[in-house]
Amino acid sequence: MSVARAGIVLCGGRSSRMGRAKAWLPWFDGRTLIEHVVERIRPAVDEVLVVTSVALDLPALDARVVRDREPERGPLAGLRDGLAATSAAHAFVTATDAPFLTTEYVDGMLSRRAACAPVEEGHVQVLSAVYPGEGAAVAERLLEEGRGRPRDLLEALDYEALDANDPALASAPWKGFNTPDAYLDAVRGEDPDARCRIEFLGRAALASKSPNLEVPVGTLGDVLAQAARACDLDLDLVEGEQVARGHLVSLGGRDLVRDLSLPVGPDERISVLDAQAGG
């Protein structure tokens, strides 16, 4: 089936600065960031492709999942794989951490029917840009030549630079985040009262007055401290920068962690478990 417009979401793996896979970060109403971004793009395009490495499973999405063949070569290789997988004349390409994307913005960008990207203070927003379908072959050539940046591809495609000061772009819908603090700021910007849910299981449940609580979002350290205070927890859950030995925390039921600096997002359910799982 030939299509005119595609949306491509590049899903990196676990982000080292964030400590968690961005695709799975919560973004309100029980949805993950990837679900939210796909929902925003979907009405503006004929199909959405999500490019991901094998090391990342995804929730069910209204999108086609394309495997990033060479994740170690960076975003241009993923972009190439995404473009190669669609027959669309033009594709809007974004990263996962773009919660402020709007359908109107994606629609407006694709209506230009040409390679284009916003430029903000000299920075080309390569992951909030439109690439023509034939860009796959050009990307392949650039990768062979050792030029591995998406910006090289935009330049090779003679892209149109859009002034980010244009009122239509004033909301900077490409804004993303790379650190727990930046993510939590974005969450609080959206809802200053954003909360997460914490559940004490096992020994922690026996030691707490109420095993289910809601507390404001924050780093895991903040969240645990608030919850422990709120329920008079008779157990030490923290040891330096880590969750105390003998315990583990599950974030959203997926990551099992002990690092207190990780972010806990809106409506996210975290469970404090006993680490000994023998049975």
């Binding site: 929730p59 096992g202 997926r254 023998g278």
Partner: protein, 600 residues
């Protein structure tokens, strides 16, 4: 060498005789006791390709060097036989005074061969007709308990149910159907008693070591087991999408909350108990219904298999099913998993008259144990039933090598997935314990990789040592470096110098010996795998939604595991190494199926 008696008792039921047979010290040094010694005795006392339910099949009760030392959690014995469920080497451990009393007979093991003409019991050297046939193991024990310590089978063992257990002091050598091996011999019970103390080389040093271990075993590393027991797993596993539900169709159970021990605490009477000579005491007993006395022993594996796996969310029903399995002598995991499998087959229209998810299990457990109606086919286990139904059914039968899977969803716990696939006993959580890594930050539990392989290998070796010393898995957290501490214990006990490296070598040897035993009995590379469902379907919902274990990933993990263990690409041990094992251990390991490929 102190710590052992250097001989075993061979009982010939066909002739009604028994004799002492020497165990070379070199064998005890190389394999210790428990599962190590037991495997050696099984292979030595049998010919390749024997029928596990035949008279010639050996049934081994192996004690261990630590039995009788007073070390916490050491009063355990291994039952070793060829499993009627898998056709491979099987060992099952149980804790009880049976181990202590057996070893006091001045022996390191009992090997039972032959078969009785009529139902009998062996009581301290005397083989006599039994009046307990048709009774539960607990009833049998109360009849015979005055004469010594008892190991007995229930009705399921008598009826050769392929997942029947052997019970002692209310604990069970549960997995692999070893109760059917005993039943095939028409042996209801073995009763042991004796006066001989275990010789200890340096009693003062060992006692001091035992005191220190006991103190550590009262610390935070075992707190979960003391405070909640293994039943504390259920809600946690549910919350991380690892709780097998409705025959492994999904990994999150909507009724988990009702089955959670954390919630039971306020609702029903509860008390803790402990195995013989254990200071941890992880055993949890709950009232079978609110208002009753705390009389039902429940473990996570029973709770998951008789609850979420069969779609049952009523705690009274789960506790009642667990108690019924114990009374009948059924392995709770295999019983629950075989029923769950039949339920899915029923839903798909493949099995007429099958129970439905959520049904009352009690009549079904009775039918299985007595081989009544469809119960007769269920008593054969999930793989045999699946083969009768067809290939598609085999793909959803929850088993590896014929042994039903424990309560760990392999797609969401991929180190465990590898452990389950390669384990010599079949789908097994105790000989591998690879889940330990999945419940840590050591690996990415949803994407098995090289770290998972290293963790699975290490976990298997730790288990091999604990199961041959024998010590309980749950004391492990209280031991520093397991191999070093084991070496120190063995040095004090035996009077010989043991090193951590030496202990690790024993562990590797035991893992290899079991594989060689399986090869002798016809193991093929395809036996190391997981059912198709896990390799083709992602988890459809719940916290681990989307988790997949593609076939090629599992194959890569298995191949790396073989490499790490020094096996060839297909998982076989080289003929040179096999020959070395044969001469070191005085065994013939060449079986009908293992003589070909690797010799070429």
């Amino acid at each position: 060498m102190s710590g052992i008696h250097g001989r075993y008792l061979r009982i010939d039921l066909s002739r009604g005789t028994s004799e002492h047979v020497a165990i070379p010290e070199s064998v005890s040094r190389r394999l210790l006791g428990g599962v190590g010694l037991g495997t050696w005795l099984l292979l030595r006392e049998s010919t390749p390709g024997f029928d596990p339910l035949s008279a010639e099949a050996p049934l081994v009760f192996a004690f261990s060097p630590l039995v009788g030392t007073g070390l916490t959690t050491s009063a355990k014995f291994a039952v070793v036989a060829k499993s009627p469920l898998t056709g491979f080497v099987c060992d099952a451990l149980a804790s009880s005074h049976f181990a202590i009393a057996g070893k006091r007979m001045g022996i390191d093991a009992i090997v039972v061969k032959g078969a009785c003409e009529t139902p009998s019991e062996w009581v301290r050297g005397v083989l006599r007709p039994t009046a307990s046939w048709g009774r539960s193991a607990a009833e049998t024990t109360s009849v015979l308990g005055g004469e010594g310590r008892v190991a007995a089978i229930g009705v399921a063992g008598e009826q050769l149910v392929r997942f029947a257990t052997i019970s002692a002091d209310g604990r069970h050598a549960g997995r692999g159907g070893l109760g059917a091996v005993m039943g095939a011999k028409r042996l209801k019970a073995i009763v042991v008693a004796g006066e001989l103390e275990t010789p200890i080389a340096d009693r003062t040093a060992l006692e001091a070591r035992a005191d220190r271990l006991r103190a550590r075993a009262a610390g935070p590393e075992t707190a979960k087991y003391r405070e909640l027991g293994t039943v504390g797993n259920l809600l946690a596993f549910d919350r991380v999408g690892a709780l097998p539900t409705r025959n492994f169709q999904t990994s999150h159970f909507e009724g988990a909350e009702k089955l959670a021990a954390e919630r039971w605490r306020g609702e029903r009477a509860h008390r803790r108990a402990a195995c013989a000579h254990c200071t941890i005491g992880c055993e949890q007993r709950y009232a079978s219904r609110p208002g009753g006395a705390a009389d039902v022993r429940i473990e996570y594996e029973s709770q998951f298999a008789l609850g979420p796996l069969v779609g049952v969310a009523d705690p009274d029903a789960v506790l009642a099913s667990s108690a019924r399995c114990d009374a009948l002598g059924l392995d709770t995991i295999s019983a629950g998993a075989t029923l769950a499998f039949s339920m899915e087959c029923g839903e798909r229209g493949w099995l007429e008259g099958a129970p439905a998810f959520g049904d009352d299990l009690l009549p079904w457990l009775d039918r299985i144990a007595t081989r009544d109606g469809l119960g007769d086919r269920l008593a054969e286990g999930s793989l045999r039933l699946a083969r009768e139904i067809g290939d598609e059914a085999v793909g959803i039968a929850p088993q590896v090598k014929g042994l039903e899977m424990p309560g760990y969803e392999p797609r969401a716990l991929q180190t465990m997935a590898l452990g389950l696939a390669v384990s010599s006993r079949g789908a097994d959580h105790n000989r591998s314990s690879a889940y330990e890594a999945d419940f840590s930050e050591e690996v990415d539990r949803m994407h098995g990789d090289a770290r998972s392989v290293a963790a699975a290998v290490a976990a298997e070796e730790r288990a091999a040592i604990l199961d041959s010393l024998v010590l309980c898995k749950f004391v492990r957290g209280a031991m520093g470096d397991l191999f070093e501490e084991s070496a120190a214990i063995l040095s004090d006990l035996t009077g010989e110098a043991w090193s951590a490296d030496g202990v690790e070598t024993v562990a590797k040897r035991i893992v290899d010996l079991r594989r060689l035993g399986n090869e002798r009995e016809g193991w093929q590379p395809a036996d190391d795998s997981l059912p198709k469902r896990f390799l083709e379907e992602p988890i459809p919902g719940g916290p681990a939604v989307g988790a997949r274990l593609p076939a090629e990933r599992l194959r890569d993990l298995i191949r790396s595991y073989y490499l790490e263990r020094g096996y060839d690409e297909s998982g076989r041990i080289s003929s040179d190494r096999r020959t070395a094992f044969e001469s070191e251990l005085g065994l013939d390991l060449t079986g009908p199926a293992s003589g070909g490929a690797d010799d070429a």
